[in-house]
């Protein structure tokens, strides 16, 4: 059954060494939970960006919590490059597993289906394939001289995202952002922050049911209004581009990053 907890208690469920899956910037990023995670400071996280990372990932990198980063890209979008990511790559601050978007999806879907791998077209000839010895190229057993890449299952310990609402049973409205469901299916535990909690069941009406991640997959929910800020939440509010820009500017140095984060934590407290 789904637990309803504070954002701090939610963050406490992400332990040292956890493989943590996080969504792309427009899918519903649990930004408020980022501060709670940084406050608890789990060590040696393995981040899986689904399929790319942004502000949240850059903050976790800057806070030094990340041992491994598996992603197809990290960027602040319009605000430019992700400063802690760029600095960390240069300084070898973490192990890097460069991927490509459909490979991340394929790995999660393999886990969703409980199979060891999924085949994926494309990729051959990319240096990613040589840099990812965990990917294998085999000859398609249904073809002849037809090399194809196999992507191993990605099985996160935990995934974390932000959504508009949950109901009291623990069902979560994810709308058409179905990669959030894929993350939850693939992960051992799913943590969700939401704008609001409603009393009636999201599954009661077939209209809303279609966009629901069932409680079966949801371990804990924390209510955090405006919890994706400064990112947008689809159907709810727009991104705060200026705040993202302020971060991009501040985090150009590690000191600037730390000052920014301290101010952010103070504001949240």
């Amino acid at each position: 059954m789904t637990d309803f907890v504070t954002v701090s208690a939610l963050a406490a469920r992400i332990g040292n060494g956890a493989k943590l899956a996080l969504p792309v910037d427009y899918a519903g990023v649990a930004m408020a939970a980022t501060d709670a995670i940084i406050a608890r400071a789990p060590r040696d996280l393995h981040l899986v960006c689904v399929p790319t990372g942004g502000l949240q990932v850059d903050m976790l990198l800057g806070a030094g919590l990340v041992g491994t980063l598996e992603t197809s890209a990290v960027s602040l979008g319009e605000a430019g490059s992700a400063p802690c990511f760029v600095r960390g790559v240069r300084g070898e601050a973490f192990r890097l597993m460069d991927a490509t978007c459909p490979a991340i999806h394929a790995g999660l879907i393999a886990a969703q289906k409980g199979v060891p791998f999924l085949p994926l077209r494309g990729l051959i000839g990319s240096d990613l394939v040589t840099r990812r010895p965990d990917w294998k190229v085999i000859d398609n057993p249904f073809g002849e001289n037809d090399p194809i890449v196999l992507i191993p299952a990605i099985e996160p310990d935990v995934c974390l995202f932000h959504a508009p609402e949950a109901d009291r049973m623990g069902n979560v409205w994810i709308g058409r952002r179905r990669e959030l469901a894929t993350m939850a299916y693939a992960s051992k535990r799913t943590l969700v922050t939401v704008e609001r909690i409603r009393e009636d069941s999201l599954l009661a009406d077939e209209k809303t049911a279609a966009g629901v991640l069932p409680a079966l997959y949801v371990d804990a929910v924390a209510k955090v209004p405006n919890g994706a800020w400064p990112y947008a939440l689809w159907g709810e509010y727009a991104a705060d581009g200026e705040e993202i820009g302020r971060y991009a500017e501040a985090a150009r140095t590690q000191e600037g990053f730390e000052a920014f984060m301290a101010a952010r934590a103070e504001k949240a407290a």
């Binding site: 990511f85 070898e92 890097l96 994926l120 990729l123 000839g125 990319s126 990613l128 037809d146 159907g235």
Partner: protein, 255 residues
């Protein structure tokens, strides 16, 4: 009372060129922060509607309004594999003469002196989307290199590799190249007004073919230009308000 039409701006020329490159496509996908490719697709859509031609679909990734996908982030990639996406755009921190693109970085790997965001979906879409247009405004020896330092996505692959897509053209701020998949190399098709072949040769780190006389990149005719400055800019403003405003300002300045 006659008002002289302000001349075609650089961005308008690029947009029109994109529309020409997309001719015949039914479904174009563009990245979230790619206003010129999106505008080119919108222009083609408007032109086809006026001509009574085939409908053109445009998917803008990451947009809520211009996104008719309902199966999450994987749908674009599935859709491409199903052959339902005809054209896509790729940039690149480095692009080389074999059509390889590098979106990862330079100065070593995994430790890179200059690190870019990463490969995104390039390693996949480059193989599966029939018409990939390389678009990079900056055309300098730093970007247009002989050999990329990291192949995010290869321009050509051995014949046994399943591939039904790849680079068709490279559009830069200086000119337009076509790509010959057979030979695995570029050919300069046109230079934009205000630029010269010698300049392009100097600014390009890779060898390329060229006709004896390289024409200028064509400009839109007045009707097309009017469509671009009217309907297309209005549509563009919904998703890229900043860019649409800049386009309008450029025209006023030119007038």
């Amino acid at each position: 009372m006659s008002v002289a039409t302000p001349p075609v701006t650089h961005n308008e020329r690029l947009i029109f060129t994109v529309a020409r490159l997309l001719e015949g496509v039914r479904h174009v996908a563009v990245g979230a922060s790619s206003p010129i490719p999106a505008a080119g697709a919108m222009l083609l859509r408007a032109l086809e509607e006026e001509r009574g031609g085939a409908a053109v679909r445009l998917s803008i990734l990451g947009s809520v309004e211009h996104n008719f996908f309902t199966n999450g982030g994987v749908e674009l990639f599935d859709c491409a594999a199903q052959g339902r996406i005809d054209a896509f755009f790729l940039g690149g921190g480095q692009i080389d003469g074999q059509g390889n693109v590098n979106l990862v970085g330079v100065g070593g790997y995994p430790t890179s002196k200059v690190r870019w965001p990463g490969s995104f979906g390039s390693a996949y879409l480059y193989h599966l989307v029939p018409r990939v247009i390389l678009f990079r405004e900056e055309h300098t020896p730093r970007v247009m290199v002989e050999k990329v330092e990291f192949v995010s996505a290869p321009g050509v692959t051995p014949p046994e590799v399943y591939r039904r897509g790849g680079p068709k053209a490279l559009l830069t701020g200086r000119g337009l190249f076509s790509f010959d998949a057979e030979r695995g190399g570029f050919r300069l098709e046109s230079v934009h007004e205000g630029h010269e072949v010698a300049e392009i040769e100097e600014m390009t780190g890779f060898a390329f073919e060229r006709p004896e006389t390289v024409p200028f990149t064509p400009d839109p005719d007045p009707a097309t230009l009017a469509l671009l400055r009217g309907r297309v800019r209005d549509e563009l403003a919904e998703t890229y308000p900043g860019f649409a405003a800049r386009m309008a300002a450029e025209i006023s300045k030119a007038a």
